[in-house]
């Protein structure tokens, strides 16, 4: 069993669906941080079988929780101070996300208009459906690439 040490200040993202940690790493812009980041893939989990975990030594306020909730709102966010969990934050699906995913409808104005932000809105909370603000095309994880 691989052991990764505790962090003193920062946050731990637990219960990430196995295989999604790199996607979250990119979405949160962790590659641009000058902080210690541990990516744990396929860790054993009683509830999930296997899961990914991200440990980051930086201020929680630099984290865009909306983006995280959009990727997977079942993730547990543990805020760490002096090596202890001081807060658990729950994630809520954001009403709107900007600049995270791209509309793949070739007939959408966002395919040609210069510097137009890619905006999606939460069309159906129950079924977690997001649609492009401009053309209402449904976002589908399978056919869309990340920005």
């Amino acid at each position: 069993m691989l052991n990764i040490g505790k962090i003193e200040e920062g946050f731990v993202l637990d219960h990430i669906q196995a295989g999604k940690s790199m996607q979250i790493y990119r979405h949160l812009g962790l590659d641009k941080l000058d902080s210690t980041v541990a990516i744990i893939k396929n860790a054993k989990s009683k509830a999930m079988g296997k899961k990914d975990i991200l440990k980051v030594e930086c201020d929680i306020n630099s984290l865009d929780l909306d983006v995280l909730a959009f990727v997977d709102h079942n993730i547990t966010v543990n805020v760490i101070k002096d090596g202890e969990i001081i807060e658990k934050r729950s994630l809520v699906l954001p009403k709107q996300i900007t600049g995270v995913i791209k509309c793949h409808n070739p007939r959408c104005i966002s395919s040609i208009e210069q510097e137009l932000p890619q905006i999606f809105y939460l069309a159906d909370e129950e079924r977690e459906i997001y649609r492009c603000k401009y053309c209402d095309e449904k976002y589908s994880e399978g056919d869309a690439n990340n920005l």
């Binding site: 409808n105 007939r107 959408c108 104005i109 966002s110 395919s111 040609i112 208009e113 210069q114 137009l116 492009c132 603000k133 401009y134 053309c135 209402d136 095309e137």
Partner: protein, 306 residues
């Protein structure tokens, strides 16, 4: 100063706001000359990035009949778009010239981008396969004028219900009114999309899906016809087998109620036989007239002119 309003989607207006709009359109119908100077000194810009003679002429006539003037272009090649100008820049420029703009664009969401940068009201005059709100407003006004209200009737929608944006938009708009029953008449290849029937189920709105028009004709108060295009079928055999189900002729009309009305967004190709045109139930040319009244009412409403 009143908040700048646009018309991107028929649902942008509440049911009450639509009632006011249709009341105004009714006033215009009854007293056209009385409105002939309401827009004196005002300019409508028709920015049409793709050709659409009917819609553009309807908007232009609406403004001229209100006493206003019209500027614009009828296809993208005669605009700065051919030089690569963005929609955002075009509308900023148009905002300096005109008081209101009607925009048609092949890209979905283009009028919304324009509205977000505009200092004048923008009307979506059709954006790709997405929205065409003034067609829906036309359909609603036609139904309301012919039937007396937008409640308690059975409407059959016939033909290509899968790709027809006017049909989807009309169903969404009618779903806000009470007592409406939908009958969808189409080949299985061109059925109304699942998200529409899901929405109707969620709202407990009754609907039925059938293949043959004759089966349901006697039940209808309105029949909304659309064209079944050959290229929508997987093979020619199916097209030939099914096309006659969706051509309205005298024989099928004999099954209809005396007070049923036929609507069509036009252009018609062969889905309504010309032998029907003189039938008092054929309302599709009257519908064009209502299109102009509703555009006049919309221009006045968005400009805040009483």
């Amino acid at each position: 100063m009143e908040k700048l309003r646009h018309m991107m989607n028929p649902l942008d207006f509440s049911v009450e706001e639509l009632e006011n709009l249709f009341d105004l359109a009714g006033d215009i119908e009854r007293d056209l000359p009385g409105f002939s100077h309401k827009c004196d000194g005002k300019i409508l810009a028709t920015c049409f990035y793709e050709p659409s003679t009917r819609t553009r002429l309807s908007f232009e006539t609406a403004m001229i009949r209100l006493g206003g003037q019209v500027i614009g272009f009828a296809d993208a090649n005669s605009s700065s778009a051919a030089k690569g100008e963005s929609v955002a820049d075009t509308i900023r420029v148009i905002s300096c010239f005109a008081d209101i703009c009607a925009m048609r664009h092949p890209k979905e969401g283009a009028p919304m981008v324009a509205a977000s940068k505009s200092t004048i009201p923008v009307i979506n005059a059709g954006d790709g396969g997405h929205q065409h709100p003034t067609q829906t407003l036309t359909d609603l006004l036609t139904i309301r004028s012919l039937y007396g209200s937008l409640k308690n009737f059975t409407i059959g929608l016939c033909g290509d219900l899968k790709f027809g944006r006017t049909v989807h938009s009309l169903i969404n708009a009618l779903s806000r009114y009470e007592g409406i029953r939908f009958i969808f008449i189409s080949p299985k290849e061109l059925k109304v999309p699942d998200y529409i029937t899901e929405m109707l189920r969620q709202k407990n709105i009754p609907y039925e899906e059938v293949i043959k028009l004759e089966e349901v004709m006697p039940q209808l108060d309105f029949l909304y016809m659309t064209r079944v295009q050959k290229e929508r079928f997987f093979n020619e055999e199916d097209y030939i087998r099914l096309r006659n189900f969706y051509i309205l002729d005298k024989e099928k009309m004999a099954l209809a109620k005396e007070k049923m009305f036929i609507l069509h967004p036009l252009p018609r190709v062969n889905e309504i036989s010309v032998e029907i045109d003189d039938d008092p139930r054929a309302a599709y040319f009257k519908q064009v007239q209502y299109g102009m009244y509703v555009r006049m009412a919309l221009i006045l409403t968005l400009l805040g002119i009483k």
